[in-house]
Point group: C2
């Protein structure tokens, strides 16, 4: 079965207190987005990588690829106004058969094991979404208050979120909704069944300067 | 109003793959539990610190205090079989008036600001529980499946959890329940109203070797 990846890199870097979009910040001496693409290439070189970037960043990316002699083959796709639209743009470009792993550009620490597992599970179940158990107690808002809930009933969702392409293509024909916080929620709103599998606490999303430092520590190990 | 802290350090270290209980692992060259006590002392030297330790660790702690010339005044209390019982042992020792901040021994990165804020808010509201918004999408178990939920309605709970002593004393007269995952849930089960306030993502709980490395990075900043 053909395997595809859609790497979504839409961030502007405002939360980083930096002018550089966070996906271009250096980690291990390279724009971290390159590490994310490399993770997929190293897990399985046959995966066809699609990188979604805001139009304004495409030329920057191309010049970074030259500067850093970045050779991992990938196709560039122009992003939309929102994450939903960005992913939709990429999904439209895919053939109807095969599997696609949709992954945050700012999660460069994803392991080969997680990537391969997500393809395997999606091949069997139609979907495979990496998730971890919360380590903290959880409270839920209720009538201007909050109440304790059983944390064993909850999962913190990561990426990759991997799908049978035929099914996720249909899901992305829906109109956009504010309830779509990730691709699993789009898939589910179209009647798809979500299969979770155990993610990895180290597969962090880099959104603050501390995250970047933490990522570099994890990488060094 | 008199202020107390209960620092709960009950862990055995098994998750660390280490023989040393995690609260004694070195961070910045000191057993990390010492940093936790120091955080309270530095926030407000008038806070009366109560440290709850398993019976088997008390002599180790005393000898560590000697080795590291640890001089921050604190009272030692023997822990129970569970966290609930450990906190209850300490709560019983407190007078009925004042405020008590209950805090995980393995959260050494708590800031002065968070500690002071928790006492302030608890003085006004009877409770003050540090919590942060989840950064990831959340799913909830439902009938052998999971469903997407609105993450804006959820909070990840940290410590300190600070209470009016009179109220938390009454709450700890209840029988222990498996639903008591933290002190806020005990307080709430007795009819108490929980006031959340904004915690700090850096105030991590150290439960894995990676957490220890991450904590040392955050500390160096």
């Amino acid at each position: 079965m053909n395997k595809y990846a859609i790497i979504v890199a839409g961030g502007s870097g405002s939360r980083m207190g930096s002018e550089t979009p966070k996906q271009f910040l250096l980690l291990h001496g390279k724009p971290l987005l390159m590490l994310t693409l490399a993770a997929f290439f190293e897990a399985d070189a046959s995966v066809i990588i699609n990188l979604v970037l805001p139009k304004s960043q495409i030329s920057v990316w191309l010049s970074l690829c030259e500067t850093y002699h970045f050779k991992i083959p990938h196709r560039l796709i122009e992003g939309g106004q929102t994450r939903f639209q960005s992913v939709r743009n990429a999904i439209k470009m895919l053939p109807s058969n095969g599997l696609v792993a949709i992954h945050d550009g700012v999660r460069p620490l994803v392991s080969s094991q997680i990537i391969l597992k997500s393809f395997e599970i999606a091949a069997q179940n139609g979907s495979a979404v990496a998730a971890v158990k919360p380590k903290d107690s959880i409270r839920m808002a209720k009538e201007n208050q909050t109440i304790a809930v059983d944390r064993n009933q909850y999962f913190l969702v990561q990426t990759p979120q991997t799908f049978a392409i035929g099914l996720i293509k249909m899901a992305f024909l829906q109109d956009e909704s504010p309830n779509f916080t990730d691709d699993a929620s789009v898939f589910e709103a179209n009647g798809g069944k979500i299969t979770l599998f155990e993610g990895d606490y180290r597969n962090i999303k880099i959104t603050t300067p501390e995250d970047l430092t933490i990522a570099s520590v994890i990488l060094r190990k």
